[in-house]
Amino acid sequence: MVALACLGIVAAQDTASVVKVTPTTLRLRERRVATLALQLQVREGYHINSNRPKLDYLIATQFTLDPQPGFTLVGLKWPTATDKKFAFSGDPLSVFQGTVPLGVELKAGPHTVGSHVLHGKLRYQACSEELCRPPVTMPVDLHVEVVHG
Protein backbone atom coordinates (compact mmCIF):
# COMPACT_ATOMS: atom_id res chain seq x y z
CA MET A 1 0.00 0.00 0.00
CA VAL A 2 2.86 2.34 0.95
CA ALA A 3 4.68 1.39 -2.27
CA LEU A 4 1.59 2.12 -4.36
CA ALA A 5 1.14 5.46 -2.60
CA CYS A 6 4.78 6.35 -3.25
CA LEU A 7 4.42 5.50 -6.94
CA GLY A 8 1.42 7.76 -7.08
CA ILE A 9 3.37 10.62 -5.51
CA VAL A 10 6.26 10.14 -7.97
CA ALA A 11 3.92 10.00 -10.95
CA ALA A 12 2.10 13.10 -9.77
CA GLN A 13 5.38 14.99 -9.39
CA ASP A 14 6.34 14.34 -13.02
CA THR A 15 3.42 16.36 -14.28
CA ALA A 16 3.26 18.79 -11.36
CA SER A 17 4.31 22.40 -11.70
CA VAL A 18 8.03 22.91 -12.17
CA VAL A 19 7.87 26.13 -10.18
CA LYS A 20 6.24 26.39 -6.79
CA VAL A 21 5.50 29.66 -5.06
CA THR A 22 5.57 29.81 -1.28
CA PRO A 23 2.54 31.74 0.00
CA THR A 24 3.38 34.67 2.19
CA THR A 25 1.70 37.61 3.89
CA LEU A 26 2.90 41.17 3.81
CA ARG A 27 2.16 43.71 6.48
CA LEU A 28 2.47 47.27 5.43
CA ARG A 29 1.33 50.65 6.61
CA GLU A 30 -1.26 52.72 4.86
CA ARG A 31 0.25 55.15 2.35
CA ARG A 32 3.64 53.44 2.66
CA VAL A 33 5.73 51.18 0.43
CA ALA A 34 6.89 47.75 1.52
CA THR A 35 8.41 44.76 -0.18
CA LEU A 36 6.71 41.39 -0.19
CA ALA A 37 9.21 38.56 -0.47
CA LEU A 38 7.91 35.93 -2.83
CA GLN A 39 9.86 32.72 -2.92
CA LEU A 40 9.88 30.76 -6.15
CA GLN A 41 11.24 27.23 -6.04
CA VAL A 42 12.37 25.77 -9.36
CA ARG A 43 12.35 21.99 -9.42
CA GLU A 44 15.78 20.41 -9.30
CA GLY A 45 17.12 19.64 -12.74
CA TYR A 46 15.16 22.47 -14.35
CA HIS A 47 15.86 26.12 -15.01
CA ILE A 48 13.67 29.02 -16.05
CA ASN A 49 14.80 31.94 -18.16
CA SER A 50 15.61 35.01 -16.13
CA ASN A 51 13.57 38.18 -16.41
CA ARG A 52 16.12 39.33 -19.02
CA PRO A 53 17.08 36.38 -21.21
CA LYS A 54 19.96 36.88 -23.59
CA LEU A 55 18.01 35.84 -26.69
CA ASP A 56 14.83 37.61 -27.73
CA TYR A 57 12.98 34.44 -28.67
CA LEU A 58 13.40 32.98 -25.20
CA ILE A 59 10.43 33.40 -22.91
CA ALA A 60 11.30 35.69 -20.02
CA THR A 61 10.08 35.08 -16.49
CA GLN A 62 7.58 37.80 -15.68
CA PHE A 63 5.41 38.83 -12.75
CA THR A 64 2.39 41.04 -13.16
CA LEU A 65 -0.23 42.28 -10.73
CA ASP A 66 -3.90 42.67 -11.58
CA PRO A 67 -5.11 46.20 -10.91
CA GLN A 68 -6.50 46.55 -7.41
CA PRO A 69 -8.00 49.81 -6.16
CA GLY A 70 -5.83 51.36 -3.51
CA PHE A 71 -2.71 49.40 -4.33
CA THR A 72 0.19 50.15 -6.61
CA LEU A 73 2.92 47.85 -7.81
CA VAL A 74 5.95 50.08 -7.34
CA GLY A 75 8.54 47.69 -8.67
CA LEU A 76 10.02 44.23 -8.77
CA LYS A 77 13.35 43.18 -7.31
CA TRP A 78 14.65 40.22 -9.26
CA PRO A 79 17.63 38.26 -7.98
CA THR A 80 20.88 38.12 -9.91
CA ALA A 81 20.53 35.57 -12.69
CA THR A 82 22.99 32.81 -13.38
CA ASP A 83 24.79 32.69 -16.72
CA LYS A 84 24.86 28.99 -17.52
CA LYS A 85 25.99 27.06 -20.52
CA PHE A 86 23.91 24.12 -21.66
CA ALA A 87 24.60 21.38 -24.20
CA PHE A 88 21.97 22.87 -26.49
CA SER A 89 23.17 26.47 -26.35
CA GLY A 90 26.31 27.85 -27.94
CA ASP A 91 26.49 30.74 -25.48
CA PRO A 92 25.54 30.87 -21.81
CA LEU A 93 21.91 31.57 -21.04
CA SER A 94 20.65 33.85 -18.30
CA VAL A 95 18.58 31.64 -16.02
CA PHE A 96 17.12 31.17 -12.56
CA GLN A 97 17.53 27.89 -10.75
CA GLY A 98 16.69 26.53 -7.34
CA THR A 99 15.31 29.10 -4.90
CA VAL A 100 14.45 32.38 -6.57
CA PRO A 101 13.57 35.25 -4.20
CA LEU A 102 11.42 37.88 -5.88
CA GLY A 103 10.72 41.17 -4.13
CA VAL A 104 7.35 42.72 -4.95
CA GLU A 105 7.27 46.37 -3.91
CA LEU A 106 3.77 47.49 -3.06
CA LYS A 107 2.27 50.77 -1.96
CA ALA A 108 -0.95 50.84 0.00
CA GLY A 109 -3.02 53.90 -0.65
CA PRO A 110 -5.38 55.67 1.77
CA HIS A 111 -8.41 53.86 3.16
CA THR A 112 -6.88 50.41 2.64
CA VAL A 113 -6.60 49.30 6.27
CA GLY A 114 -7.53 45.66 6.57
CA SER A 115 -6.83 42.33 4.92
CA HIS A 116 -6.57 42.06 1.17
CA VAL A 117 -5.74 39.45 -1.44
CA LEU A 118 -4.02 40.84 -4.49
CA HIS A 119 -4.02 38.69 -7.60
CA GLY A 120 -0.85 38.35 -9.60
CA LYS A 121 0.43 36.18 -12.40
CA LEU A 122 3.79 34.53 -12.79
CA ARG A 123 4.78 33.59 -16.33
CA TYR A 124 7.71 31.29 -16.95
CA GLN A 125 9.02 28.62 -19.24
CA ALA A 126 11.16 25.82 -17.83
CA CYS A 127 13.63 23.42 -19.37
CA SER A 128 15.86 20.61 -18.23
CA GLU A 129 18.82 19.34 -20.23
CA GLU A 130 16.52 17.05 -22.21
CA LEU A 131 13.07 18.60 -22.19
CA CYS A 132 11.32 21.96 -22.28
CA ARG A 133 7.95 22.42 -20.66
CA PRO A 134 5.40 24.67 -22.36
CA PRO A 135 5.18 28.25 -21.06
CA VAL A 136 3.08 28.56 -17.93
CA THR A 137 1.11 31.47 -16.54
CA MET A 138 0.23 30.67 -12.96
CA PRO A 139 -1.94 32.71 -10.63
CA VAL A 140 -0.21 33.98 -7.49
CA ASP A 141 -2.20 35.45 -4.62
CA LEU A 142 -0.53 38.04 -2.42
CA HIS A 143 -1.98 38.31 1.07
CA VAL A 144 -1.62 41.82 2.42
CA GLU A 145 -2.43 43.23 5.87
CA VAL A 146 -2.60 47.00 5.88
CA VAL A 147 -2.39 48.77 9.20
CA HIS A 148 -2.80 52.42 10.06
CA GLY A 149 0.13 54.57 8.99
Binding site: Y57, L131, P134
Partner: protein, 204 residues
Protein backbone atom coordinates in the same frame (compact mmCIF):
# COMPACT_ATOMS: atom_id res chain seq x y z
CA UNK B 1 -7.50 -41.34 49.17
CA UNK B 2 -7.81 -41.06 45.45
CA UNK B 3 -9.33 -37.95 44.27
CA UNK B 4 -11.31 -37.91 41.11
CA UNK B 5 -12.38 -34.72 39.38
CA UNK B 6 -15.97 -34.25 38.44
CA UNK B 7 -14.97 -32.73 34.98
CA UNK B 8 -11.88 -32.69 32.88
CA UNK B 9 -10.27 -29.30 32.50
CA UNK B 10 -11.16 -27.49 29.21
CA UNK B 11 -8.15 -27.11 27.03
CA UNK B 12 -7.22 -23.45 26.55
CA UNK B 13 -8.72 -22.00 23.34
CA UNK B 14 -5.84 -21.37 20.97
CA UNK B 15 -5.59 -17.67 19.92
CA UNK B 16 -5.20 -16.89 16.18
CA UNK B 17 -1.62 -16.47 15.15
CA UNK B 18 -0.63 -12.81 15.63
CA UNK B 19 -4.08 -11.90 16.99
CA UNK B 20 -5.13 -8.46 15.81
CA UNK B 21 -1.95 -8.10 13.74
CA UNK B 22 -2.99 -11.07 11.70
CA UNK B 23 -6.36 -9.48 10.95
CA UNK B 24 -4.65 -6.33 9.66
CA UNK B 25 -2.40 -8.40 7.45
CA UNK B 26 -5.42 -10.13 5.95
CA UNK B 27 -7.16 -6.79 5.40
CA UNK B 28 -4.05 -5.39 3.74
CA UNK B 29 -3.71 -8.35 1.39
CA UNK B 30 -7.36 -8.10 0.43
CA UNK B 31 -7.05 -4.36 -0.24
CA UNK B 32 -3.95 -4.81 -2.40
CA UNK B 33 -5.58 -7.64 -4.32
CA UNK B 34 -8.63 -5.47 -4.84
CA UNK B 35 -6.57 -2.59 -6.17
CA UNK B 36 -4.74 -4.89 -8.56
CA UNK B 37 -8.06 -6.33 -9.76
CA UNK B 38 -9.52 -2.87 -10.32
CA UNK B 39 -6.42 -1.65 -12.16
CA UNK B 40 -6.40 -4.71 -14.42
CA UNK B 41 -10.08 -4.34 -15.24
CA UNK B 42 -9.62 -0.66 -16.09
CA UNK B 43 -6.69 -1.49 -18.35
CA UNK B 44 -8.61 -4.26 -20.07
CA UNK B 45 -11.61 -1.98 -20.52
CA UNK B 46 -9.38 0.75 -21.94
CA UNK B 47 -7.87 -1.63 -24.46
CA UNK B 48 -11.33 -2.51 -25.65
CA UNK B 49 -12.34 1.09 -26.25
CA UNK B 50 -12.77 2.14 -29.85
CA UNK B 51 -9.57 3.59 -31.30
CA UNK B 52 -11.10 7.01 -31.92
CA UNK B 53 -12.20 7.24 -28.30
CA UNK B 54 -8.62 6.63 -27.19
CA UNK B 55 -7.18 9.12 -29.64
CA UNK B 56 -9.11 12.25 -28.80
CA UNK B 57 -7.01 14.59 -26.72
CA UNK B 58 -4.71 11.85 -25.45
CA UNK B 59 -2.12 11.34 -28.19
CA UNK B 60 0.50 13.42 -26.44
CA UNK B 61 0.05 11.88 -23.00
CA UNK B 62 2.96 10.07 -21.36
CA UNK B 63 5.11 7.82 -23.48
CA UNK B 64 4.03 4.73 -21.60
CA UNK B 65 0.48 5.19 -22.80
CA UNK B 66 -0.21 1.60 -23.87
CA UNK B 67 -3.12 2.64 -26.03
CA UNK B 68 -1.10 4.67 -28.51
CA UNK B 69 0.45 1.91 -30.63
CA UNK B 70 -1.83 0.88 -33.46
CA UNK B 71 -4.20 3.81 -33.06
CA UNK B 72 -4.93 5.66 -36.32
CA UNK B 73 -3.31 9.07 -36.29
CA UNK B 74 -6.09 11.68 -36.39
CA UNK B 75 -6.00 13.69 -39.57
CA UNK B 76 -5.01 17.34 -39.46
CA UNK B 77 -4.22 20.21 -41.78
CA UNK B 78 -1.44 22.58 -40.79
CA UNK B 79 0.16 25.38 -42.74
CA UNK B 80 3.78 25.97 -43.57
CA UNK B 81 5.34 29.42 -43.19
CA UNK B 82 4.40 30.30 -46.77
CA UNK B 83 0.77 29.34 -46.10
CA UNK B 84 0.86 26.06 -48.03
CA UNK B 85 -1.31 23.51 -46.21
CA UNK B 86 -0.16 20.00 -45.40
CA UNK B 87 -2.78 17.32 -44.82
CA UNK B 88 -1.72 14.27 -42.85
CA UNK B 89 -4.21 12.17 -44.85
CA UNK B 90 -2.23 12.91 -48.01
CA UNK B 91 0.78 11.19 -46.47
CA UNK B 92 -0.84 7.77 -46.20
CA UNK B 93 1.63 5.17 -47.42
CA UNK B 94 4.56 7.19 -46.09
CA UNK B 95 6.39 6.82 -42.83
CA UNK B 96 5.70 10.07 -41.01
CA UNK B 97 7.58 11.59 -38.11
CA UNK B 98 5.93 14.47 -36.25
CA UNK B 99 8.56 16.44 -34.37
CA UNK B 100 6.94 18.92 -31.95
CA UNK B 101 9.43 21.72 -31.31
CA UNK B 102 9.71 25.45 -30.65
CA UNK B 103 12.33 28.14 -31.19
CA UNK B 104 12.59 28.57 -27.42
CA UNK B 105 13.32 24.87 -26.90
CA UNK B 106 17.03 24.21 -26.57
CA UNK B 107 16.92 20.40 -26.56
CA UNK B 108 14.76 20.52 -29.70
CA UNK B 109 17.56 22.30 -31.53
CA UNK B 110 19.96 19.46 -30.83
CA UNK B 111 17.65 17.06 -32.65
CA UNK B 112 16.83 19.26 -35.64
CA UNK B 113 20.10 18.66 -37.56
CA UNK B 114 19.60 14.94 -36.94
CA UNK B 115 16.13 15.13 -38.44
CA UNK B 116 17.58 16.87 -41.49
CA UNK B 117 20.14 14.09 -41.90
CA UNK B 118 17.52 11.37 -41.46
CA UNK B 119 15.14 13.06 -43.91
CA UNK B 120 17.87 13.15 -46.55
CA UNK B 121 18.91 9.57 -45.84
CA UNK B 122 15.46 7.98 -45.97
CA UNK B 123 13.50 10.33 -48.23
CA UNK B 124 13.64 7.89 -51.14
CA UNK B 125 12.21 5.15 -48.94
CA UNK B 126 9.17 7.22 -48.14
CA UNK B 127 10.11 9.03 -44.95
CA UNK B 128 8.40 12.37 -44.36
CA UNK B 129 9.44 14.42 -41.34
CA UNK B 130 7.21 17.29 -40.27
CA UNK B 131 8.54 19.77 -37.75
CA UNK B 132 5.45 20.97 -35.87
CA UNK B 133 6.26 24.34 -34.36
CA UNK B 134 4.61 25.28 -31.08
CA UNK B 135 5.79 28.89 -31.35
CA UNK B 136 3.22 31.63 -30.92
CA UNK B 137 5.14 33.89 -33.27
CA UNK B 138 5.63 32.93 -36.92
CA UNK B 139 8.46 35.46 -37.03
CA UNK B 140 10.39 33.53 -34.40
CA UNK B 141 10.04 30.39 -36.50
CA UNK B 142 11.03 32.19 -39.67
CA UNK B 143 14.04 33.85 -38.08
CA UNK B 144 15.23 30.61 -36.53
CA UNK B 145 14.92 28.63 -39.76
CA UNK B 146 16.65 31.32 -41.78
CA UNK B 147 19.64 30.98 -39.50
CA UNK B 148 19.31 27.20 -39.16
CA UNK B 149 17.73 25.74 -42.29
CA UNK B 150 16.36 22.20 -42.23
CA UNK B 151 15.73 19.73 -45.04
CA UNK B 152 12.22 18.80 -43.97
CA UNK B 153 8.91 20.64 -43.92
CA UNK B 154 7.95 22.78 -40.98
CA UNK B 155 4.33 23.47 -40.10
CA UNK B 156 2.78 25.83 -37.56
CA UNK B 157 0.49 24.38 -34.90
CA UNK B 158 -1.06 27.47 -33.25
CA UNK B 159 -2.99 25.06 -31.00
CA UNK B 160 -4.75 23.49 -33.98
CA UNK B 161 -3.88 19.97 -32.80
CA UNK B 162 -4.99 20.51 -29.19
CA UNK B 163 -8.42 18.99 -29.63
CA UNK B 164 -7.26 15.74 -31.18
CA UNK B 165 -3.67 15.37 -30.06
CA UNK B 166 -3.72 17.24 -26.78
CA UNK B 167 -0.97 19.62 -25.71
CA UNK B 168 2.58 18.36 -25.61
CA UNK B 169 3.71 17.55 -22.10
CA UNK B 170 7.10 18.87 -23.11
CA UNK B 171 9.27 19.53 -26.11
CA UNK B 172 10.64 17.88 -28.07
CA UNK B 173 7.90 15.32 -28.44
CA UNK B 174 8.14 12.93 -31.37
CA UNK B 175 5.42 10.76 -32.85
CA UNK B 176 6.21 7.98 -35.31
CA UNK B 177 3.44 7.03 -37.75
CA UNK B 178 3.50 3.88 -39.87
CA UNK B 179 2.59 3.65 -43.55
CA UNK B 180 -0.90 2.45 -42.64
CA UNK B 181 -1.49 5.69 -40.75
CA UNK B 182 -1.32 4.21 -37.25
CA UNK B 183 1.00 5.28 -34.47
CA UNK B 184 4.12 3.24 -33.84
CA UNK B 185 5.74 5.09 -30.97
CA UNK B 186 6.03 8.33 -29.04
CA UNK B 187 9.20 9.82 -27.55
CA UNK B 188 9.16 12.58 -24.96
CA UNK B 189 12.27 14.69 -24.59
CA UNK B 190 15.70 14.66 -26.19
CA UNK B 191 16.56 11.18 -27.41
CA UNK B 192 19.77 9.57 -28.59
CA UNK B 193 20.17 10.00 -32.35
CA UNK B 194 20.61 6.29 -32.94
CA UNK B 195 17.42 5.53 -31.06
CA UNK B 196 15.49 7.99 -33.21
CA UNK B 197 16.89 6.35 -36.33
CA UNK B 198 15.98 2.92 -34.98
CA UNK B 199 12.37 4.03 -34.53
CA UNK B 200 12.32 5.04 -38.18
CA UNK B 201 14.02 1.91 -39.46
CA UNK B 202 11.56 -0.31 -37.60
CA UNK B 203 8.63 1.06 -39.59
CA UNK B 204 10.29 1.75 -42.93
Amino acid sequence: MTETSSSTPTPATPTPAGGKAGNWIIIGVVLIAGLIYIAKNRRDAANQRPANQNAVGEILLPADNPRLAGIPAPDFTLKQLDGTPIHLADLKGKVVVLDFWASWCGPCKIEMPWWSDLQNKYRAQGLVILGVSEDDSDNDVKNYLQANPVSYQVVLDHSTLTNTYGSPEGLPTTLFIKRDGTFAARVLGLEDRNELENHIKKIL
